[in-house]
């Protein structure tokens, strides 16, 4: 099972990616799609595929993959199956940054202000969390994350509370729901490098995560630099999830679900969970984006809301299941 898992997930992601390009208000057969991607065919079709659907599909792939990967790394690092990127306040910080951009009207004058502010917010939050937990261990980190996450959340609520106009409040609400609609290549270029660098840092923790299954003292005795692994995981998450939230808003639950779906299939090894979790995350977001674009009842539902609606029951099942199996 372990051996076919990664190739299987790669095929699934590739299939969903192609479907994202072909499916929408207008459906394209594979041959038209190939023509458009190679720069030929009808200009309008090329425009739709290359300028609208391709960046959106790439973003769905990147956002899903980094979210699943980061969830897997954080669950391994904190040795807690309920950990997810949101726990450290990165998404909340990014949301606050975006909300500030919308609230003060920067977003109206400069299109990329929202993602740039969101990125800055994510970095600021992780810096504060790191500084607060510098001398403590894992627990101090979680507590610091929860604290800054709460403060950032309060900032978002305050902005909604004091919103200058119903329109601004509506815009903030819409952004918070998470969506990939109307994204273009600018967003890919903005988020892509951060997500790729973040992913590289997160993948570099694989071996440390395996050893950390034995606890921090034993991992340290096995030659693992636990402190360095923690820094890699945090900064990787800040870069990756910060950039993902900056372009797509808050996409909850993927970071929690994706590692859990694949973990039993890789014999529960924390390090081996990373790549499959990233692929599973990409598949979930691609599939969900496809669903909100095509299912008649889901047309008006934002991506983040759609995933949460299906993610929350899973979360509930997870909590109940854990209670049943833990002594």
């Amino acid at each position: 099972m372990t051996r076919v898992l990664t190739p299987g997930l790669v095929l699934l992601v590739a299939a969903l990616f192609c479907a994202s390009l072909a499916v929408g208000t207008i459906w394209f057969p594979p041959i038209t799609l190939a023509h458009a991607l190679l720069g030929g065919g009808v200009p309008l079709v090329r425009e739709i595929v290359v300028e609208i659907r391709l960046p959106r599909a790439i973003l769905a792939l990147l956002v899903g993959a980094i979210t699943g990967l980061s969830g897997a790394v954080l669950q391994g690092l904190l040795r807690n199956p309920l950990a997810e990127p949101g726990l450290l306040g990165v998404s909340a910080g990014a949301s606050l940054g975006a909300v500030i951009a919308i609230y003060y009207g920067f977003a109206a004058s400069f299109a990329l202000a929202t993602p740039l502010f969101a990125l800055a917010g994510a970095m600021a939050v992780i810096a504060v969390a790191l500084a607060l937990s510098r001398r403590g261990g894992t627990l101090a980190l979680i507590l610091a994350g929860v604290a800054v996450s709460t403060i950032a959340g309060a900032g978002v609520s305050l902005a909604l509370n004091l919103a200058p106009s119903p329109y601004a409040a509506y815009e903030i609400m819409t952004w918070l729901m998470g969506s990939l609609a109307d994204r273009n290549w600018d967003h890919v270029v903005l988020a892509g490098p951060f997500i790729l660098i973040g992913a590289g840092m997160l993948f570099a923790t694989a071996r440390a995560l395996d050893a950390l299954a034995l606890g921090e003292a034993q991992a340290e005795s096995l030659g693992v630099n636990v402190c360095a692994a923690r820094l890699l995981a945090l900064i990787g998450t800040a870069l990756g999830i910060g950039a993902a939230t900056a372009v797509a808003g808050t996409i909850g639950f993927v970071g929690l679900i994706a590692p859990h779906v694949v973990r039993p299939l890789v014999a529960h090894r924390p390090g081996a969970t990373l790549l499959p979790a990233a692929l599973a995350g990409a598949a979930i977001v691609l599939a969900a984006d496809l669903a909100v674009r095509t299912l008649p009842f889901a047309r008006d539902i934002k991506l983040g809301v759609f995933i949460a609606v299906f993610g929350a029951p899973f979360f509930l099942w997870l909590v109940l299941h854990l209670r049943r199996v833990s002594p």
Binding site: R207, A211, G215, Q218, S221, L222, V224, A267
Partner: protein
């Protein structure tokens, strides 16, 4: 094979000195029991000896080289450390847990080589774990888990093995089994350092003893010299006697 030595090691937590100018020597081929009442600083001494905690003053040396100068990976290949009541957080199978002991032996990229895999098999055999190799480590009994952890520590063939309370929570049979396995490792040439509360077991397996109280090494030397009525009574603040008869020696609280 080199001797692990602590030279006048002092470690402070805030104002309090957890270890005060503690010196001790752990020789290859010998099993040294670290004994003392709760809070004496045994676990801290072991962490410092394993190079996992840097002392505020004094020095820890492996052979002639200060342990701080040995690289993280190189040190991990030469000494193994087991904390008190070690746990595995995910349901990973026994074979994988034991293989984690070879983390520092892995190449920069890629997994276990055939030779390392053979070594894991050998250690599983040695610790009677072959039948359990596919079992999840979270489903093991206390005695089985203790055996798995010891196998995990030994798989890298360390020169120095530092173990904190390996028999805590084990029934007499499993405690004795763990003690015998540690004894065998020492006999095979490893320098074994064990913190123990079970004085009868210490009496049975130890070559040397380091007695620790309030962070100070109050006595050290061959087991026969330290396990005396006077030393033990002063160490634990209770009247204790070492009784030697036809069935061996044991410690009794009066």
């Amino acid at each position: 094979m080199s001797t692990l030595s602590l030279e006048r090691v002092t470690l402070r937590r805030g104002e309090r000195a957890v270890l005060h100018e503690a010196s001790a020597h752990f020789a290859p081929g010998r099993l040294t029991a670290v004994i003392g009442p709760n809070g004496a600083g045994k676990s801290t001494l072991l962490l410092v000896a394993a190079g996992l905690l840097a002392p505020d003053a004094g020095e820890v040396r492996l052979g002639a080289v200060p342990i701080a100068q040995i690289g993280r990976q190189a040190l991990a290949r030469r000494r193994a450390y087991l904390p008190q009541a070690p746990q595995v957080d995910w349901p990973i199978c026994v074979e994988r847990v034991v293989a984690l002991g070879l983390t520092a032996h892995l190449p920069a990229f890629g997994g276990l080589s055939a030779a390392l895999r053979a070594r894991v098999g050998e250690v599983l055999e040695q610790f009677d774990l072959t039948a359990l190799r596919e079992r999840a480590a979270t489903e093991l009994s206390g005695g089985e888990l203790a055996r798995v952890m010891l196998a995990r520590a030994v798989v890298g063939s360390p020169e120095v093995l530092v173990v904190d309370e390996p028999t805590a929570g084990l029934d007499p049979r499993h405690a004795l089994d763990a003690g015998r396995r540690l004894r065998a490792l020492a006999t095979a040439g490893c320098a074994v350092v064990v913190a123990l509360h079970d004085l009868d077991l210490a009496l049975r397996i130890a070559d040397d003893v380091v007695a620790l109280r309030d962070g100070v090494v109050v006595e050290q030397g061959a087991a026969a010299a330290v396990f005396t009525t006077e030393v033990l009574s002063a160490l634990y603040d209770v009247e204790m006697r070492v009784v030697r008869d036809a069935h061996g020696a044991s410690v009794r609280v009066w």
